[in-house]
């Protein structure tokens, strides 16, 4: 009962927000403000209620299942229902808190924006879809939420669609995740038909032969890679930075990317070793590559985007190494601190009016609150004690160290290296944002999509409060699981991370005006371009597909339409011949009639 309320409330908020908060005349500024206020209420209140109810579920902590109805499909039936399990409740709590923070934050971030009502409504819908994924008792119900999230990410990433690049990024996000979703859907089919039921509890309990499982989980993995931005399908995530910053926080922390990892954790017992090995290899490549790419980015949000890919790969690696609980733990802490980082980055961008790191600098004094909260976020990202990331990373590393996976060495080595690179890129972004000399003079009027012009003040309270509140879990969440703490891997990770931090700090100290990314030397350009994966895809996939599309268009134009137009033209041409008979001379017509009668008469005589 409560669980359905949790899922339905944000959905109702989305519907109300879309229907009731349209401004009456559009051009009237006072009407717009009133509409935005209404939309803000419809966005914040249901999400807050939903988060509160989730908190109650956490406190109550009793697994339960609610089945609304069973849809008889003629084949395998679909159970429309919600299931409360420990993993679901934990993830839902994360989703609720982050979504609430994002909703409150966007009230300030999108102030005066004419399309704010639809924006907040889509955030609510997004939240609702993610909660549906989290609580789904049936794979098909899960898939419904999964797809709605794809739609919402498209709508929200393309919120400022006036700019061509933004709408392209939205389409890219949609298409790339869709590519994975096809695999995901077929994975569900294979599982469902092998188990004879789409109910997750039945599927988990079913006795499915290993080859079928390998096939099904590999197909599922395609969808997971798409949603969680793992290596072959990760390219949409950095481009999705075109969306407003609160959306980045939502996508990167609570919804969307978390969904992939969540699904693997939820169906974990189904994953056989070969699939886990594939996941592990993907994760090992992804975490290091994305961390290196993050180090060379010049756009603050892209730094965080690559960092997300890298951290998600951490979770994937933990799953591949058999440490499911560590992965979930890291999912939750990462959700908290990455949302915090994005919200802080949003405040910085809002303040500076530019995404680029070399436009920033010296913001420590101008924005003390943002500075301190973001420092907490970075500390958690690097894994410095006592921030939450320290504990979860320790759990992951401990799991990988103890793993009996055949690729344990690769996973562990890659994870440890990534810890160092993470320290380096986080420090670089931190130093370039908050230290050094301020470079901002009043920028020209910004293009839509980059918030406001520099005005030398801290962000509004609606933005600062969510940041402050999220800083608390980012800092302290680690202690909830501190009983599982292991000293040796923690010290190793800390040393490696501090090495990375110190290295960048020394380089930066040498000449604070210059970008520490020069450290990479000739390797910098490949890193900045994320190892040319986008260009590779453009050459191997995009261009042939575009050529094919053009061919299809031409065929349609010239062959299909040509046939239609040709038949018309042929008719006109033929009629040009016969119309000469219609010359208006009645005597000619009568001659024709007579000739016809004669022909018929002769024919009747001869043949009859």
């Amino acid at each position: 009962m409560i669980v359905s309320l949790i899922v339905v409330l944000p959905f109702a908020g989305a519907v109300l927000g879309l229907l009731l908060s349209r401004h009456p005349h559009g051009r009237d500024p006072a009407g717009n403000l009133a509409a935005n206020k209404r939309a803000g209420l419809f966005g914040v209140v249901p999400t807050a209620l939903s988060a509160g109810l989730t908190g109650w579920l956490v406190w109550e902590n009793t697994p339960s299942t609610n089945v609304l109805t069973v849809i008889d499909t003629g084949g395998v039936a679909i159970t429309v229902g919600l299931e409360v399990a420990e993993l679901s409740v934990l993830t839902a709590m994360l989703v609720g808190v982050v979504a609430l923070a994002v909703q409150v934050y966007s009230v300030g971030y999108m102030r005066g924006e004419i399309r704010y009502p639809s924006f907040s409504a889509f955030i609510s819908l997004f939240t609702s879809a993610m909660l549906l994924v989290v609580f789904a008792a049936d794979l098909m119900v899960l898939y419904v939420g999964w797809e709605i999230m794809g739609l919402c990410s498209y709508l929200l990433v393309g919120h400022w669609w006036e700019e061509r690049a933004n709408s392209r990024a939205a389409i890219k996000a949609f298409l790339v995740t869709r590519l994975g979703d096809v695999g995901f859907l077929f994975g569900i089919f294979v599982l469902g038909f092998a188990a004879g039921s789409f109910r997750i509890s039945d599927v988990l309990a079913a006795d499915i032969p290993t080859p079928t499982l390998v096939l099904a989980t590999l197909l599922l993995l395609a969808g997971v890679a798409g949603k969680s931005a793992q290596v072959p399908l990760h390219t949409w995530l950095p481009d999705a930075m075109a969306g407003p910053t609160p959306i980045s926080a939502l996508i990167h922390a609570a919804t969307m990317v978390a969904a992939g990892i969540f699904v693997v954790a939820r169906l974990y017992v189904l994953f056989p070793q070969p699939t886990l090995d594939v996941l592990g290899v993907v994760a090992a490549i992804g975490m290091l590559g994305a961390a290196l790419a993050a180090f060379a980015q010049n756009d603050l949000k892209r730094v965080l985007a690559y960092s997300t890919i890298s951290q998600l790969a951490y979770m994937a690696a933990a799953l591949a190494g058999g440490a499911r609980d560590a992965a979930v733990f890291h999912l939750v802490t990462h959700g908290a601190f990455k949302a915090l980082l994005f919200l802080c980055a949003g405040a910085v961008i809002h303040h500076v009016g530019s995404n680029l790191l070399h436009h920033m600098g010296g913001l420590r004094r101008a924005m003390p609150v943002t500075f301190w909260t973001m420092t907490v976020g970075y500390a958690a990202l690097i894994g410095l004690p006592p921030a939450s990331g320290f504990f979860s990373k320790d759990a992951v590393l401990y799991g990988l160290e103890r793993s009996d996976s055949p690729i344990q060495l690769l996973l562990y080595g890659s994870a440890l290296l990534t810890v160092g690179v993470t320290g380096a890129y986080a420090t670089r972004a931190w130093l370039m944002t908050f230290f050094g000399t301020g470079k901002i003079q009043a920028l020209p009027e910004p293009v839509p999509g980059t918030a406001h012009v520099f005005d030398g003040r801290e962000a509004p309270a609606t933005m600062l409060w969510p940041m402050g509140i999220l800083a608390v879990p980012a800092l302290l969440l680690g202690f909830t699981d501190a009983g599982e703490f292991h000293l040796a891997p923690a010290v190793t990770a800390l040393v490696v991370a501090l090495l990375g931090v110190a290295f960048v700090y020394v380089i930066w100290r040498g000449s604070p005006e210059r970008d520490p990314a020069r450290l990479l030397g000739a390797f910098r350009d490949p890193c900045e371009q994320a190892f040319y994966v986008d260009r590779l895809y453009a050459a191997v996939l995009v261009r042939p597909v575009l050529a094919l599309a053009r061919g299809v268009v031409r065929t349609d134009d010239e062959v299909v339409d040509g046939a239609v137009r040709g038949s018309g033209r042929a008719t006109v041409g033929l009629s040009g011949l016969t119309r000469h008979l219609q010359n208006g001379n009645a005597q000619l017509y009568v001659t024709g009639v007579l000739a016809g009668v004669l022909l018929i008469a002769v024919g009747a005589v001869v043949l009859g």
Binding site: G584, N585, Q587, V590, T591
Partner: protein, 102 residues
Amino acid sequence: MHVVYPAVVAALLFSIGVYGVLARRNTILVLMSVELMLNAVNLNLIAFDVWLRDALHSGQVLTLFVIVIAAAEVGIGLAIVLAVFRTRRAIELDRLRDLGEP
């Protein structure tokens, strides 16, 4: 009298009528040719009525009908010709081709 004679005369009359309808340009002459064709038919009707010794003389009755209808037709036809002449100052058939394709 053998039935061939009136039949041949009727055929000749009919052919002259057909020729007139198809070849003459003057509308009045075309109307006259139509009359010729009708009269050829009348001749046939009477000849065969006699030759077949029809008790009811349906051939002769039909001939009377045809004569009446021909009179009416010629009346209407001449009225049309008059109207066309008044509006167009011409009654040549080949100049009345407004219905033709341009």
